[in-house]
Symmetry: C2
Subunit: 283 residues, 2 copies
């Protein structure tokens, strides 16, 4: 890592921002591949997001932004353009200044999720999926499952009324069967995803009844902390295939790189992400 | 250099910015001393300076700015506070956000110059100095010579009328004899400084008549490029003591560090600047 006057600069915006792992991973990749670019953190409050985004990108060599919590959703309103996934889910992971000066955003959470399913050998097309929890992560995942051709998607959320609009939007956008369900009963699905925060706090109930899972169902728990999560432990105890969210994060890395024009690094990571996995796994 | 979510960020603003050497020097020092901070370039046009400065510092961990050409002078108007040298010279090298949110600037060019004289063993108090060229660099140098107690300072500039206001300001501020002179004749001075750009372009005349220098006069040519400069070569041919501007840049490094609160690194560089010299000297 040799920062000079010629270095291209990217910022990751969050509040807080201390916990983000992206600078370590991407700066490692830039240095490894001899690319003169750097990703640095910027702790920006929600109140200041609009002004900061608009004016920081006035610098010609500050080319784009990574968005961390709580900016992924409000950033959408600041964009000139957005690809389908971000537009439908109403959240983005990144934004770049295009050559014409326009600000374009993209969401990689869902793409990372289906690429992680590929990595695990879990096919999506035609399958019946249940997504439990339709906050930002759940909506992104449901959107990508729909885009990838899932046969049927059921959405559950403990907050009443939260799923109906999402189901209608995804059905209309992708022309597949997306429904709201009144219970997180996992029986009868090929794939069940926990996208709730249940499992973060000691004493949380499981997000659904593991005893009701079909033996052949695959489970993904997107929680990053407390590995293995209570849900993963309960699934493993029953001999059910269950994966943590870690690979979803790894699989997003080439998406960011391509979006910002670092295609050669993106291809290299797609072939071998072992160093990215090691960096994200480090304490 | 290990940038993470906790890293403190500083920006160096210039247009162009590709030529700045500060990121290499300061990031080396941060890494060497285990400080979690980084200096990155931002190419900001004059038109956008005010908006960029105001809004980039909205990020809590973006704590301060280095100013490169052409922003050193216009930055003064954006400050809430400024120390004497910057206020008198009307230019700053750096600005920091204080704990109370105010923006404070400081100029180190002149301080670096007199510290370089210390390094060369050239005493200032009571001496007669001629400063040729009173653009940003010349004014900063004259200000620091006045602050350090020079006996008499003569200012020459090829643009008529440029020196009078500076001379009056320095006389009033520091209570010493500062005068405008109509010719750059170097005879009779203890110290003669070239602060014009003469010597940058092939075929430039020398800034003053080297044959008229007293044998004991010390000369400094603050030009950084084309070393040794034509002036330095002409002085050396006459056996006159003459130094390039390089050390002036080196001696500013601890000033920046102290200003931004990195006192331990500043002290270490003050004791041994050999690695800073090597970094700045590298092609």
């Amino acid at each position: 890592m040799n920062i000079s006057g010629t270095t291209r600069v990217f910022l990751i915006l969050g509040d807080p921002v201390a916990q983000v792992r992206a600078p370590e991973a991407f700066n490692h990749l830039f240095a490894k591949h001899g690319v003169d670019a750097v990703l640095v953190p910027a702790k920006v409050s929600s109140k200041n997001l609009g002004a900061f985004v608009k004016h920081s990108l006035l610098a010609e060599n500050i080319e784009g932004l990574w968005l961390a919590i709580p900016h992924k959703t409000p950033m959408v309103d600041l964009l000139d353009q957005c690809e389908t996934q971000g537009r439908v889910a109403g959240a983005v992971n990144a934004a770049r200044r295009n050559a014409d000066g326009s600000l374009e955003g993209a969401l990689f959470d869902g793409v990372g999720f289906v690429k992680a399913l590929d990595h695990f050998g879990i096919p999506v097309p035609g399958r019946k999926a249940l997504v439990v929890g339709v906050g930002g992560g759940g909506v992104a995942i449901a959107t990508s499952l729909a885009a990838r051709g899932a046969g049927r998607i059921a959405l559950f959320d403990s907050t009443p009324g939260r799923t109906a609009a999402v189901a209608a939007k995804l059905s209309a956008e992708f022309g597949i069967d997306v429904v709201s369900v009144a219970s997180p009963d996992p029986a009868g699905y090929d794939l069940v995803v926990n996208a709730t925060p249940l499992g973060l706090k000691a004493g949380d109930p499981l997000p659904f009844d593991v005893a009701r899972l079909d033996a052949s169902t695959a489970v993904v728990d997107i929680l990053m902390k407390n590995q293995p999560t209570p849900l993963l432990r309960a699934c493993h105890a029953r001999g059910i295939t269950a994966h943590p969210g870690f690979e979803m994060m790894v699989q997003q890395v080439p998406e960011y790189l391509s979006f910002f024009g670092f295609d050669a690094i993106a291809r290299a990571v797609q072939v071998d992400a072992s160093d990215v996995r090691a960096l994200f796994a480090a304490p």
